[in-house]
Symmetry: C2
Subunit: 242 residues, 2 copies
Amino acid sequence: MYGSANVTERQAQAPALAISTVIFALRTDPGSGRSEIWLPLVRRIRQPHLGKWALPGGPLGGSESLQDAAARNLRETTDLEPTYLEQLYAFGGLDRAATQRLVSIVYWALVRPDQADLARESENVRWFRASEAAGLAFDHDEIVAYALERLHGRIEHGSVAYHFLGDRFTLTQLRGVFEAVLGRPLDPANFRRQLRSARDIAATDEVLQGGRNRPPRLYRYTGQNAQAPPPARTPADDRPTS
Amino acid sequence: MYGSANVTERQAQAPALAISTVIFALRTDPGSGRSEIWLPLVRRIRQPHLGKWALPGGPLGGSESLQDAAARNLRETTDLEPTYLEQLYAFGGLDRAATQRLVSIVYWALVRPDQADLARESENVRWFRASEAAGLAFDHDEIVAYALERLHGRIEHGSVAYHFLGDRFTLTQLRGVFEAVLGRPLDPANFRRQLRSARDIAATDEVLQGGRNRPPRLYRYTGQNAQAPPPARTPADDRPTS
DNA sequence: ACAAAAGTGTTTTAACTACACCCATGG
DNA sequence: CCATGGGTGTAGTTAAAACACTTTTGT
């Protein structure tokens, strides 16, 4: 597949640098009422991998930070502002793209369901269930898989789950987020207790009316900064969006 | 839209891509006998930041993976092979370097004490205590601080501690690693139990002779892959070294 | 015999699990 | 008044922390 001329040519040129973003949102299945993780993909309109679905992304602009470039990916594909944005990993394998050496710094983002509902879909932008996103262009299958792993880890320890929801939410909604990410049911009683102690949530005096059952209390997230761990003391870049 | 003028313009403003590596090793203080974390730094022999100490690194070669470039950093500065190598973070702030836009993909590595003792020191390569590495070039102070945080996190959960040591080690040596990284003393009795259950270590039938006290048993690490979490299923690059 | 580190045992405490039970609402 | 999800209580299990205690070496 690679002629020797191709290899020498590759050695000569500096690697291209691109930013891609994995955007996660929660959607509630109308049928079962269960929460699921979705992500938007864009259809490639050029070679290589023409016609395949791929992560939103593009070259890094000369005068924007990595984080800004990732946020721009969101805006340009879905008109959304992220509620959470964190660097995922830098992928730089030699065989990622056939024609040129490509290094991609990948971010992952969370958006709220109300935002995701507003997001535009078009011929070349479509939302997929994370579990059904396969056959993507380049190595994007693996990138999505790794992003899901990271999400899994972050939700257990950190305070990421809230960023899937609005500023007011019920504990059952929050539990739905955990269950969708972890992929297993959680005991409602224990889940409630675990959050009451230690986590940064506070009960409001409001309840959610209109349901079929007893109106659940609404809570809000009080953790000041929706912080992403990586650049602990803001290394001049990549400050996560609150 | 893609005229040659545009291409050259893009090339002109395209960020430079470099790989740097934070190399950690353990050294036992001759006086107190306590373990401490050290790292090698190289003196800059050009502007900018001429004369300051900096992390080993350099531009990414056209035909090497990111991981390979990081391993090359180790070889070129210290003649060492890493026992552990993991991607840390990609730093890409606009103000990282004065003259040009610079994106650095930073790795961190662990080496064994016997390797570190063999590592050459020179006029322009010197080892520093991690706690005393300050005033470095560029944003390397922050990068080192973040690498220490990551090390801290990895040692609590993962199986990273063993890579500071040789293939045979006493539990007290291993506890020394934990104490040096975590910065607090640990109960020897509980530490022993915690490792016996769950962690991948096995007792050998050998003991370490020559000490002043009762000879401690030697253990070895049986975890097959010294794995780093990031690319869970080897995204065509960056496989951590065993 | 003594000091000092290796190694074992035991008690206490906290956290998580599982599950029984009561409460409030719409139909 | 019944079904359904919201919310509380409680016993059993498991893991970790604190610390007393025994063992083995060199001097």
